[in-house]
Symmetry: C2
Subunit: 344 residues, 2 copies
DNA sequence: CCGAAGTAGGAAAACGCTTGCTATCCACAC
DNA sequence: GTGTGGATAGCAAGCGTTTTCCTACTTCGG
């Protein structure tokens, strides 16, 4: 278009070029309820095309008071769990014409708070908190930030942790893990080790509780140990390596609080010269894409992550919204990492 | 924190609360070269804290003419390859106080063009194009958009594909794949099948060329077939499944153009009842995290993806920038998927 | 004690856009 | 010919910042 321009074309340029007023140009180009005569419309449109005009979103945002942005906070975008969620968010945002801004909390509450504060400055339509955060009181600062944000007219949406004035897409970690525990007990497992995150982290706690419930139901299984690690592959690896050094009986089941953790566990088992499956069984949670491709396949609970992201986005944008729409469907998926085990 | 506020506090509110002028408040809060007396500074700062003020970035952007944003275009954020790159970009952006906005091209040139156009509206500091894009002429529209963007003062950075006025972080696909091909030929492989993407996609073409060069050097190996798929796991799976249906000789090496593809290939091999390694060997490129955890481990070329993302970001923000800084170090990593093979 | 240099606060003009309101035009009915 | 009303173009006042001037006040040398 106009390679000589020192800076991007403005609406003013377009209006001048088309010989109409600023107001008219605005109405033609940036969706307004008001009608504009066809002849004017054409003039404006061709002027805009000629100048390669795009609306300055910042200016639009200041004028309108709100930006066409939704901010997404995840713990780690390289983690496939968050990657898949982000993917769903992005798809939904694209559909409704929003831009998504991403921020990485690194699972640090302090950092999360600062990020919310920074993002607040964008005046985004909404804030999606997908990062597992603690219920600790150090969340006070965060809550204050969130309140300020809501007061400013933004919408906060969280994953799995609902509260009064915050929309939230529920993920029934407890029910899911419970089914998993039960299914595995029924497959013949009697002793399990759980590798979770620190106490106080909601997601972790729920998954541990749920799994324990299911696995020990009817007095079938017993939880031998609960090890505290984190949500990463390396945390799983390290925790498992230590356990193995202390000795793990054949036929034990190790439940990693997430697939990522479980995958770390599998690697540790192999590196310790043991084998995954009949020797030591492993199960995870989430069903990230990788789980399909490793051998033996990882037994897990399928969470429709992309769909989850999509719903999170809609919880932000939809005006009327029902917290109790059909909950995300969780499904136990048994693969080779937990072969059927003959009960003695 | 003022929970009663109907909307977010503005700089005006802060100035009034502190009893100073708008100008002074601005100077105190949002970095200015000018000095402000300590007493005023304190008044303003405490007023800001009291009201929970955060600068309205949009307004700031309109006033300054540019936003503290960098936009990142990737093909698919759920793909670990892009996830790791994004992670590096995010880290760098965080360090210099930029917000990153993310957009998904789905590897569609049309879409990519529209996204650039939309993102241009944000007047971001820069645009990072990490998605492999074609060199086809249908890139004309894209180039026009990019020109407009640069004309407006933004900086475009691409991955691996340099051109005159666009900064680019080079990734020597050709050299990397060539070393890989050579290493595998030396390990005793003589017949290889390549699974690549469509012709005309630069990254794919380079990797195919490089691998061929290395593998056939000194007349050691022969490329049996080049199959055209895409950059996804499923593309790899499908392509491999078809090949296997037609019959693949024992001892053949399959080179998947990226780890993601190679992993799909591995799954297809297993699903066809064959085994990965001594039966059919597999190699990939990128060294995504998953490669460590699958068994056998995937032979590949290590690309420091996170670092790559970090450099991309710096190519955007750094004022003086040297295209020829130490290139990304690529390293062939041989794992179990390509066991040593006795030469007949 | 005067005038020349700084200093630093404040008024007001941008920045690019939206939008409430006014003004103009035209058609139609009486 | 006048009055009424429905369109629709354009003026101008915002939106929340930054930044350029302008000005009043200090400070300091002579």
């Amino acid at each position: 278009m106009n390679p000589l321009a020192r800076s991007a074309a403005t609406l003013n340029d377009v209006a001048r070029e088309a010989g109409v007023s600023l107001a008219t140009a605005s109405r033609v180009l940036n969706g307004s309820a008001r009608k504009v005569a066809e002849s004017y419309r054409e003039r404006v449109e061709s002027a805009a095309a000629k100048l390669g005009y795009t609306a300055n979103l910042s200016a639009q945002a200041t004028a309108r008071g709100t930006a066409a942005i939704v901010a997404l906070l995840v713990a780690d975008i390289a983690d496939p769990y968050f990657g898949q969620i982000a993917s769903g968010v992005a798809r939904g945002a694209d559909e409704v014409g929003l831009v998504v801004t991403i921020a990485i909390t690194e699972r640090d509450a302090q950092r999360e708070m600062k990020l919310v504060r920074a993002l607040r400055g964008q005046r985004p339509r909404g804030l999606i908190l997908a990062a597992s955060r603690t219920d600790q009181t150090d969340a006070a600062g965060l809550n204050a930030e969130l309140d300020s944000f809501t007061a400013g007219g933004g919408r906060v949406v969280t994953l799995g942790r609902s509260s009064a004035d915050v929309r939230s897409v529920p993920l029934d970690n407890r029910a899911g893990t419970s089914s998993l525990g039960l299914a595995l007990a029924e497959r013949g497992y009697r002793e399990a080790i759980i590798i979770g995150a620190a106490e106080g982290i909601r997601t972790s706690d729920d998954r541990i509780t749920g799994f324990t419930e299911g696995f020990t139901a009817n007095g079938l299984g017993t939880i031998r140990t609960i090890v505290r690690g984190g949500f990463t592959r390396d945390a799983g690896y390290t925790a498992a390596a230590e356990l193995l050094a202390d000795g793990v009986a054949e036929g034990t089941l190790v439940f990693g609080i997430s697939d990522v953790v479980a995958i770390g566990v599998m690697s540790a088992i192999r590196d310790a010269g043991r084998s995954v499956g009949t020797d030591i069984a492993v199960a995870g949670f989430d069903d990230i894409a990788t789980g399909r491709d490793i051998r033996p396949g990882l037994t897990t609970v399928r969470v429709p992550l992309e769909e989850l992201g999509y719903r999170l986005l809609h919880a932000v944008v939809d005006d009327e919204w029902d917290a109790s729409t059909a909950p995300l469907e969780l499904e136990v998926i048994v693969r080779g990492s937990t072969p059927e085990r003959a009960t003695r």
